[in-house]
Structures are given as structure tokens and as C-alpha cells.
Amino acid sequence: MTLLTDKDDRFKNLFGKAALFVLLAVLGMGLVFFWTGMKKGAFTPKSPIYFVADTGQDLKEGIPVKFSGFKIGKLTSLALDEQGHVQVEIEIETKHLVLLRQDSVVSLKKEGVIGDGVLDISRGTEDKPVLVGGSKVVFERANGLEQAVMEVKGRVMPILDDVHQILSDPDGDVRQTLKNVRQLTAEINGLASEMRGTRQKIDQVLVSVDKNLNNEVGPLLHSLRQSAAQAETITTKLNQDLPGLLIKVDSSMENLRKTTETINKSVQQTVPQIPGMVGETRETMGKTREMMGSTIEVVNGLSTMWPLKGSVPPREVGPVRMDSHD
């Protein structure tokens, strides 16, 4: 039995057409999913790597694992073990495992100061074997802002405690210094009042000096002015006389120069004669000495002759005179 009879030709093979449409749509969607999955790395082979963290703070599934700034994997699971530690599994693209060594370290860092967490995996030592899937690596937390703040707090708090103790100690240096400053201030106040009195006295002295200056320095200045005027007169006279004097001095110097030249010429003429003169002088001296010797001999001879013999005193010998009162 036929329920409906399709009279329009356009409805012929309608089921086949609809089935083809649906099939194409499903195929298109499948292609899109495949393409997207391939782009997202869903079909890239990955190897699991494990590490243990003290706490699961800032760790959550899906945070990327980066190597040299490139994403090579992600955290896939977190589980608390029997000791209370957190067992963490990450998946790293297998093709990148050759870049990593077995002593690679996974660090939890922040992207920026307050950014999302990211796991950074280091290369490790070159001479170590290549990291293989299912291996266990070391985990550490990089210093974040909170930790830095905690460190600062840990260092500052003892200092603040010390400062508090120093400030609160009644016998401490600060309290004593403040006490001294207080006393000093009081003394300075006293000194200031004394200074005020001194200043009044100095004012009086200055008034007195001012009077004396008027009475004594005035005449002195007047005298100085007179002296300066006299000096000026002398200077003027010198200015008038000095050129003449200088001309005379020049003339004298010229004469002196000429005289020196004359003496120099004379000396130059005389110098060659000096050795001869010295020789002659030496000869004369020798002759004189010889003559004196002869004279002495003659005198000595005469002194032994009569009648001079008795008048020549004998040669003195023995100590010179000195008596008991010398």
C-alpha cells in the first residue's frame, strides 16, 4: 500500500540527497576537529615525566611546561601520596626529550611578577643521559613575590625588634642621648641669654670704639693724607730728576765698560809675559835669598869678631821666665 505518492519530480531521491548532506556535514566537522586537534598537538606523541612537590600550591592541571620559552608540554595530573607529598605528572612532547637530560630540574615560576604559574624545565648537564619517558626529575619553586616578601619580612622583623628594644631601654644610648640633648638645649638656652648680655656689652664697646675712631683715627687719617701728599711730591720730583740720573748712570756704565775693555786688552797683552816675569821673579827671589843667607853669614861672622863679639847677646836657652806670681 502506498501512503503518499510523490507527484513532484523535485522530491524524487530525497532521502539520498538528505543522507549525502548529513554525511558531508559530519565529514566537514570531523576535518575541523582533526585540524584543530593536530594544531593543538593532540596527535603529537608525548611522554610522561614525574616529580614530587612539597605542596600543590600554585600547581594545577594544564599549566604549561616550557623549555627555553617554548611550550613543550603541560601538567597533566596532581595526586596526594601517603606521605602528604604531591605526585605530579607532566607530559612532554617526545620529540623534545632529546633536548633534556636526566638531571633536568622543573621549576615553578611566575610569568611576570604576579602572572600565572608556569613550569620551566632546564636542559641539565650535557654529559648525562637523555631524559626518557616515565623518568623522575627534581622540582623546585622559584622565588616569587610572596617568597621575596617573606624573606624581606624575615630580615626586617629582627631589626625592628632590635630598634624597639633600643628605643624602649631607659638606660640605652638613645634615651641617654635624648636626655643629653635635652640638657644641652637647656644649656644653650642659658648660653643664649648670656650671649644676649655679651652682645649688649659688645654693642657698648663698639659705640666706644666708634667714638675713639672719630676722635683719634680721624687725625691719623689726616696725617696719613699729608704723608701721602708729601710722598706724591717726592715721587713727582723723582720723576723729574730720575731721567737725568739714569742718563748719568748710563754714561758711567758706558765709561766702566770702556775701562773694563781697556783693562781686558791690557791683561791679554800682559798675560803672555807673565810666565817670563814669574821666572824672573823666581830668579830674583833666589838671588835675594842667597844674598840674605850670605848677609846672615857675614853678620854671624862679624858678631864673632872683636869688637862686636861682646855686644851680641848669647842664644837664650832654657825655659822662659815665670815666677811664683805669674
Binding site: T304, R315, E316, P319, V320, M322, D323, S324, H325
Partner: protein, 274 residues
């Protein structure tokens, strides 16, 4: 003609007379001895003329020559002379050093009379310096070497009298000085010194009239000797004793004369050197 012959004969007579009276001229001495005698002569001449520095220089020259000729006796005399010149130059420590070179010589190098003279002169210098104990020791050494015929006996006795007086023993000083004063062979200078010591001792013993007379006698003897400093001493002594005798006018006159002598004695020495 007769006159010419007479003159010729007179000339021959005088020539023969001088030839007979003269002896052969002495041979010239070796060079070093000649220099030594010249240096000694120059030193003594300079000392007599008051040129003490020149005398010192020439005596030093003579000493070097004597030592180079191994003339130890002559060197001892020259060292005494150098000591005397140093004393006159008021360099008493140097004078004592010269004399000690003779006195402290361990080997018997120098003659005994030189040692006696050195000891006596050392005692004089020490007495002048007021070092009486040392002077006494040195004088004792001189006394030991001096026998009765010793020429310096009277000098030693006068110095001993002086030391007694300076030590305050006026009686002993007086006795010793009187003995020297009476001995003519002591010489005028030492007699005058003894008279001065005698007068000073009498002054201390308050015999002022005797003291005045003896100061006067000392002055009379010192004047011909031309010794200014001793004349001044005598005049000062006269002034003191005259005053003690109450003769104020005389005392003032003596004091004034003493003052004039003291003021001019240094000038007179300087002018004598010119």
C-alpha cells in the same frame, strides 16, 4: 904726603888688630838645627814683644823640629815654654796639658830639672785657679826634686807662702815670705813677690803699719820691673791698709792710682804690640 903715609899706616894697624882679635867664623849649622834655632829665637823674640800667638806658633815649630831630632831635653823646655805661653793667653787647661805631658810621662824621658820646673809652674797655675789641694800636691813634687842648691828654691818657697796665706795660715806665710825676702839670691821679682805676701799676711794679722811699709817696699821693687798688674796689687794693698790705719786721704789716692793702673794696663799691653 906725610899725612897720607900716616893714614896708610893707621889703616894697616887697625886691620892687623881686627884680624888678630877675630876668631875663625863658625861653620854653618845643618839645615834643621838652623831652622830650630831660628824658630826658638823668633819665639822668644815674639814673647818678649808680647806677641803671644806668634810665640806659640814658633815654639810649636821648634818642638816639631826637636822631636824630629830626638832632642828630648830641648823638647821638654819647649813644652814648658808652650805651657807658659798658653797660661799667658789665659788658656790654663791647655797650659796644664802641656806640663802634664812632661809630668805624666812614664818613661824617664825628660830631665829632672824640666820635671821640677813643670811641677812648679803647674802649682802656680793651679794656685791662680784656686785649686789649692792640687797645687799643694804639685808643689810638693817640685819640692822633692829641689835640693838646697836648686835654683828655684826661692820661687817654691814664695809660692808655698802664697798657698799658706790663701789657706788662711798667715803666720806660716809670713815666716816663709820673710826668709825669701831676706835672700838676695832670690832675685828682685821673687823678693818683691815675697814682700807682697809678707804684707798680705801682716794685713791679715792686723799689723797694718808693717803691712803698709811692706806694700810700699814691694811697690818700689815692682816699678823698675815694669809689672803693671803687680803694681796695681801693691797699690790696692796700700789703699786697704791706709784706710784701716785711718788715713782716708792716702787710701783714696792709692785706690785712684790702682784704678788708673788697672784701667790702662791692658791698653799698654796692646800698644806695646804695635
Amino acid at each position: 904726603m906725610t899725612n897720607s903715609i900716616f893714614k896708610f899706616l893707621l889703616f894697616c894697624f887697625l886691620f892687623s888688630l881686627s884680624a888678630c882679635g877675630s876668631s875663625t867664623p863658625p861653620a854653618r849649622e845643618p839645615q834643621l838645627l838652623e831652622k830650630l834655632h831660628a824658630a826658638e829665637k823668633d819665639a822668644r823674640h815674639a814673647l818678649n814683644g808680647g806677641e803671644l800667638q806668634r810665640a806659640q806658633h814658633s815654639f810649636n815649630k821648634a818642638l816639631t823640629l826637636q822631636q824630629s831630632l830626638d832632642d828630648t831635653a830641648g823638647a821638654a823646655v819647649t813644652m814648658i815654654n808652650l805651657g807658659t805661653v798658653a797660661h799667658q793667653l789665659r788658656e790654663d787647661e791647655a797650659a796644664l796639658a802641656w806640663l802634664d805631658k812632661i809630668l805624666l810621662e812614664k818613661t824617664p824621658l825628660y830631665p829632672a830639672d824640666s820635671q821640677l820646673t813643670a811641677a812648679f809652674r803647674k802649682a802656680v797655675i793651679l794656685t791662680n785657679l784656686g785649686r789649692l789641694a792640687e797645687a799643694d800636691t804639685s808643689l810638693q813634687a817640685a819640692e822633692k826634686s829641689c835640693d838646697k842648691k836648686c835654683g828655684q828654691r826661692f820661687n817654691i818657697d814664695t809660692l808655698r807662702a802664697r798657698i799658706f796665706l790663701l789657706k788662711g795660715n798667715a803666720e806660716a806665710a809670713l815666716a816663709l815670705a820673710q826668709a825669701v825676702n831676706k835672700a838676695a839670691e832670690a832675685g828682685k821679682e821673687e823678693q818683691a813677690n815675697a814682700l807682697r805676701v809678707q804684707a798680705s799676711a801682716e794685713e791679715k794679722l792686723q799689723r797694718y803699719a808693717d803691712a803698709l811699709a811692706h806694700y810700699q817696699a814691694a811697690l818700689e821693687m815692682d816699678k823698675p820691673l815694669g809689672l803693671s798688674s803687680r803694681i796695681a796689687e801693691d797699690l790696692n794693698g796700700l789703699a786697704r791698709t791706709a784706710k784701716l790705719l785711718g788715713r782716708e786721704q792716702d787710701a783714696a789716692a792709692y785706690a785712684r792710682r790702682a784704678s788708673l793702673v788697672e784701667q790702662t794696663k791692658d791698653k799698654s799691653v796692646l800698644s806695646a804690640h804695635e
